[in-house]
């Protein structure tokens, strides 16, 4: 068997390494490609992350490979998402950013443009093969540089109440047209019930839906940025949801509110367009309906399509302020490609790994507790993840996202034109780029 053979070979070389180390000869003999930390002795790194249980995963490193390389990592727990970006940028201004940071993919261009994260292509370039191309491309921003190692991803899926779909005689929609029909059919059968809601309080959802439709919000041509937030694909998505809200086929209230939790828990809303991490959210939002939900691929824009968007997901980046970049990059690569590390991340942090090999191993051989009725949950998830459309982030995603919340929040409330809201999102984003001095192609 070739696999066992290979494994044995690895074991043997590991044994050689250990014996060499014990023989008190140079550690570099173990084939570490970066020689910088071998000469600098013990290294201690600080890591800002919001993943729960990360300290336990880092313990594995500190007691295992880290001990061997004399690289100790300390976790400093942070607030998630945009809040951390602000904190990193502030710390970077003072030249005091930690060595390693967790960053959502859409935040990477902002961090790169502030010169806060370092190019670690030399150290982690080999890891490329462990990730889907679309995921890896988000960490390179389409350049030769590599600014982070992918950690988790959020391929989007369609979640629905299996029992209530049966009760109301609804079919799981395969296309967005069918989705709209399903919403209307449900309104007819049960006027108090909504298929779902269009929520304007999480921009990532809309960005993912636009991405599925083929939108490319930020692209570059030469030395200029091109903003396509109001491109045809995004407009199609905006008009689709705007139309459903206007005719009252779906609700227009924000999600993640006590009212939303109650609607999911009592069957007042019977579906949710979400991502692979939904089981965690549903567990707390709708505890009484455990085992009644099912997951299906996201509806498509045409029968022949098979694509999804992504909502969420993050990476591990090394900062430019770090004085031990090679050591930090080594840890980042281990954390996101090593089997044990990823298993622990899944168990302690509940993340869905970006590394393709980890998506079907260890913690992902059994479905999440909440979806025990769907044994092949993670097998399907891995298949869906493969169909993720490429994304295109730019240096002021934060501005586009805040404008989204206000413009679409107002449009959803007034049940007015979503295309106009999209236009104002485009205009604000372009205006901000120009204000900062970026070259923008019209």
């Amino acid at each position: 068997m070739p696999i066992t053979q290979r494994r044995r070979l690895i074991f043997r070389s590991a044994a050689v390494c250990v014996s060499v180390a014990l023989g008190a000869t140079a550690l570099t003999a173990c084939g570490s490609e970066d020689d910088s930390e071998a000469e600098s002795g013990p290294v201690s790194l600080t890591y800002w992350t919001w993943t729960p249980g990360m300290d336990k995963v880092v313990d594995l490193w500190n007691k295992g490979p880290g001990k061997q390389d004399q690289i100790t990592v300390t976790v400093k727990k942070q607030a998630s998402g945009d809040t951390l970006v602000t904190k990193i940028l502030t710390a970077h201004k003072a030249g005091k950013a930690p060595d390693l940071v967790q960053a959502e993919y859409q935040a990477l261009p902002t961090l790169v443009s502030n010169d806060a994260v370092a190019d670690i292509a030399g150290e982690v370039g080999d890891a490329k093969g462990k990730f889907a191309d679309g995921v890896w491309q988000q960490t390179t921003l389409g350049t030769d540089a590599v600014y982070a190692v992918p950690q988790d991803i959020g391929p989007m899926m369609f979640y629905y109440r299996e029992d209530l779909f049966k009760k109301y005689g609804l079919k799981v929609p395969a296309t967005w047209d069918e989705f709209a029909e399903t919403a209307r059919a449900l309104k007819k059968k049960a006027p108090d019930t909504d298929l779902t809601t269009f929520s304007a309080n999480d921009s990532g959802l809309f960005a993912g839906l636009a991405q599925q439709a083929g939108a490319k919000w930020w692209t570059t041509s030469g030395e200029k940025w091109q903003v396509g937030i109001d491109d045809a694909a995004s407009e199609k998505v905006a008009k689709f949801w705007g139309g459903l809200v206007k005719e009252g086929a779906i609700d227009n209230q924000p999600m993640y509110t006590p009212a939303w939790n109650k609607a999911l828990n009592t069957g007042k809303q019977i579906a949710w367009v979400s991502a692979v991490w939904a089981p965690g959210t549903l567990t707390t939002a709708a505890p009484d309906t455990k085992g009644k939900w099912a997951m299906a691929p996201l509806p498509q824009w045409s029968d022949s399509d098979d694509v999804t968007g992504s909502w969420g997901g993050s990476s591990t980046a090394v900062t430019t302020d770090s004085t031990h970049k090679a050591a930090a990059a080594k840890f980042a690569a281990w954390l996101n490609t090593d089997g044990d590390a990823l298993n622990a991340l899944a168990k302690e942090g509940g993340i869905y790994p970006a590394s393709t090999s980890a998506q079907l191993s260890g913690a992902f051989t059994t479905p999440p507790d909440y979806f025990s009725n769907q044994p092949d949950f993670y097998k399907q998830a891995a298949e869906i993840a493969e169909t993720t459309a490429p994304s295109a982030w730019g240096p002021n995603v934060n501005v586009a996202y805040t404008t989204f919340k206000d413009a679409f929040g107002k449009a959803a409330k007034d049940k007015s034109d979503f295309a106009a809201a999209l236009k104002s999102m485009q205009d604000d984003t372009v205006a901000d780029l120009k204000k900062q001095g970026f070259e923008v192609a019209e």
Binding site: T86, D115, P258, K413
Partner: protein, 307 residues
């Protein structure tokens, strides 16, 4: 001669030596940060090319650009108008209630005064964010017990998180939280009025109502001015309540009040320069409004005293 001059010097220098700690603290933790904010407000970031890689971002002098942008920003102005509308409800209602409760507690016939005083004051001890969350739950039709009762009684159920009622909903949180504090301030100054004044008034045949209107209220006017002054400042700086209610409804935007706009620009959009300029404008407006009010109040007091 030498000893005399040294003595004179020592006495002259003493006040400055005493002032030194306070001045140092003032400069370090007050003047310096404010100065830095003002300095930031006259700068902006300038990106070259795609803005990727090191050295692509520079801080450059912006002159008054951030200020003209802020003053021409319709969102900041409508935020100010929203806060004005909110203040027109909060300040009169809150101070009216505070005065009423203080007068009632001060009257002789009241029972359980210490308990009542504490009960009215208690909401002030609850952090603003917690209060807003608590009320937010009560305003959401699907989880609120009020709506449940209204539904059972067959009464109309207004949407408190939209349009005009939203102002009432927000004001309610502020009034609920702030009345107790203002009541204590007014009540304390009521307690300081000498009893002889009341005795004289009663001898003259004044009823309790007349005593309240003609003696108590004029005598606590300075406290009323003070509470009004505090309330104006608190209103201009409203941030907690709308920020906490924002995730619950589409009606509260991320830039609902001027301070929310500052926060959004600094931490949402990452433009600390524009945020610094807006913060400076808000601070100046607050100073002008509150000191303008104080001067007007003082002038009136002096005129009355002269009469």
């Amino acid at each position: 001669m030498t000893s005399a001059s040294r003595k004179a010097y020592g006495v002259k220098g003493a006040p400055y030596a005493f002032l030194l700690p306070a001045t140092t603290l003032f400069l370090l933790f007050f003047a310096l940060p404010i100065g830095y904010a003002v300095w930031l407000s006259f700068h902006k970031v300038k990106v070259s090319g795609l803005g990727l890689g090191s050295g692509a971002r520079k801080e450059v002098w912006a002159g008054l650009e951030n200020y003209t942008d802020a003053l021409g920003d319709s969102e900041l102005i409508s935020g100010a108008l929203r806060v004005l509308g909110y203040g027109c409800i909060v300040v009169p209602v809150m101070l009216g209630l505070a005065l009423l409760f203080a007068l009632m507690l001060d009257s002789e016939k009241v029972r359980l005064a210490p308990f009542t005083r504490l009960a009215i004051f208690l909401p002030y001890a609850i952090p603003g964010v917690v209060a807003a969350l608590l009320w937010g739950f009560l305003y959401l039709p699907d989880v609120s017990p009020f709506y449940y009762v209204l539904e059972k009684l067959g009464l109309p159920q207004p949407d408190l998180l939209d349009g005009g009622p939203l102002y009432l909903a927000l004001s309610n949180i502020a009034v609920w939280g702030g009345t107790g504090f203002n009541m204590i301030v007014i009540y304390t100054s009521l307690q300081a009025i000498p009893v002889e004044v009341y005795a004289a008034a009663r001898l003259d045949g004044a009823t309790p109502l007349q005593i309240a209107l003609r003696i108590k209220i004029p005598m606590v006017a300075p406290s009323l001015v003070l509470t009004f002054f505090f309330s104006i400042i608190a209103t201009l700086q409203v941030f907690n309540e709308p920020t906490t209610l924002k995730p619950l409804t589409n009606s509260v935007s991320t830039t609902w009040s001027p301070l929310m706009k500052v926060y959004q620009d600094a931490f949402g959009k990452g433009d600390i320069y524009a945020a610094a300029a807006q913060a400076t404008i808000i601070a100046l407006a607050t100073l002008l409004l509150s000191f303008g009010f104080l001067r007007a109040a003082n002038r009136r007091n002096k005129q009355e005293a002269a009469r």
